[in-house]
Amino acid sequence: MTVSDAMHPASAPVRRRLPSGLAAVTPALVLVAVVFVLPVLALLLRSVLEPQPGLQNYAAFFASTTYLKVLGNTFLVAATVTVATVLLGFPVAWFLAIAPGFWSRLLFAIVILSMWTNLLARTYAWMVLLQRTGIINRTLMDLGLIAEPLPLINNLVGVTIGMTYIMLPFMILPLHATIRSIDPSVFQAAALCGASRWQAFTRVMLPLTASGIAAGALMVFVMSLGYFITPALLGGTSNMMLAELIAQLVQSLLDWGLAGAAALILLTITLAIYLVQLRFFGFGQARS
């Protein structure tokens, strides 16, 4: 019996004032219901009610090569960014977990600083770096590697570079936690059994970190799918992503029905991926 068990009888009259805790969650519940659930449901409903009831907005979306291309762009960029963040993030997370104190602390601070630096400030930096007369193009031309500036901005290349930059911390941090949680003695066991470094990597390290990689990859993928700011500033008008399309349908075309349909498509994909994540990795991973 713990102290708490022994004392609960004493606090019983106290807890009657707040019988179940429902009163305490009411303000939050009202806020989320009115300012989140209601508006989002209303938007989604417009997709089947405007201009007239029916599924014509969804039919229009999937019949249009323009919109399908937007969907394709969105998946292409999200997938490329995910692969890039895994390939770059894994070695960095590994380094962070085992490098001598000073270096890992320094790199860790850089990762955190980058993550918390204002998104617009970071996107601005990439606009400056990637533009036609920007530092990257000028350096490459000065070195004689290219004769003409490379088209690095206002296209999917720019979006992918900028988004990889922004998503990297979200891959590094969970992977770092996963690698740190590995018991080092499994590698001693592997060495005793005669495994080479490569074998230890492919047969021990990768399987032990697979769930961490998958969780990080799903998170980066799903965040990339709905990203708006970076594609809007680094991307071009001819190669939109889904979030930009939704914004444009509302702001310039005033087509609320189609915007609602696009929003529902984005939400469905997002929720489906989160459910996969919950199913396989539990709530804790999805939250962190």
Binding site: M7, L18, V25, Y165, R287
Partner: protein, 266 residues
Amino acid sequence: MLLDFSRLGAWRVALSLIALLVGAYLLLPILLIVALSFGSSQWLQFPPPGWTLRWYEELVDDPEWIASFLTSFQIAAVVTVLSVLIGLMASFGLTRGTFRGREALRALFLTPMILPVVVLAVALYAFFLRLHLNGTFVGFVLAHLVIALPFSIIAISNALERFDRDIETAAIVCGASPLEAKIRVTLPGIRLGLVSAAIFSFLASWDEVVIAIFMASPDLQTLPVRIFGTLRQDLSPVIAAVSTALIALTAALMALAALLRKDARS
């Protein structure tokens, strides 16, 4: 073997090299903005031909930049206070309540954090159009509160779960009223959770841009909306100056959070 840095052999070189390159990839753009904000080139030449404070002067002398800075600060400040209060109540209910469906409710409260923000932005824009809340202070606060609340609930719930409830019970046994015990015993006990809830709530509102773009009016613009609008036109070095100010603010808040954590450990 693979988790011992000194015994990685040739892998150590590869790992260190990639870490160096990624570290540079993450750090250099931030340093570049800081350098450009002090550079004298209007066309963002790098390295800058000379050094100047001109862009900061232009920034401080422009009443519109100052106004949007103040607007952002006021909205974020009100959002922070409300988010911590509502989040504190909700966290008490979620961690100590006995009603059914607490886990589902918790998931609902955290949903705004994971859904694509553009969907919420468009939905709120339509909703607030009817209520005439677009372009108003109240509209901004309500919208940002929904975004900030999950951070507050996570930080405070975690602190409450770690807090030993017996201490509060002991205070009540010793004659404190339940409310008194909560205010004088529990709140000080979870103060680190409250501070991080405040910091994260502030940053969630302060940095929020997608909803703000839809909701802003010419008369009421937050700082990120003004930056976004300016960036759509040109890459003025003034933006480098604003960005540097924002980076300094972030670094200061991060340092504060790190200090608090250190304080808590000792």
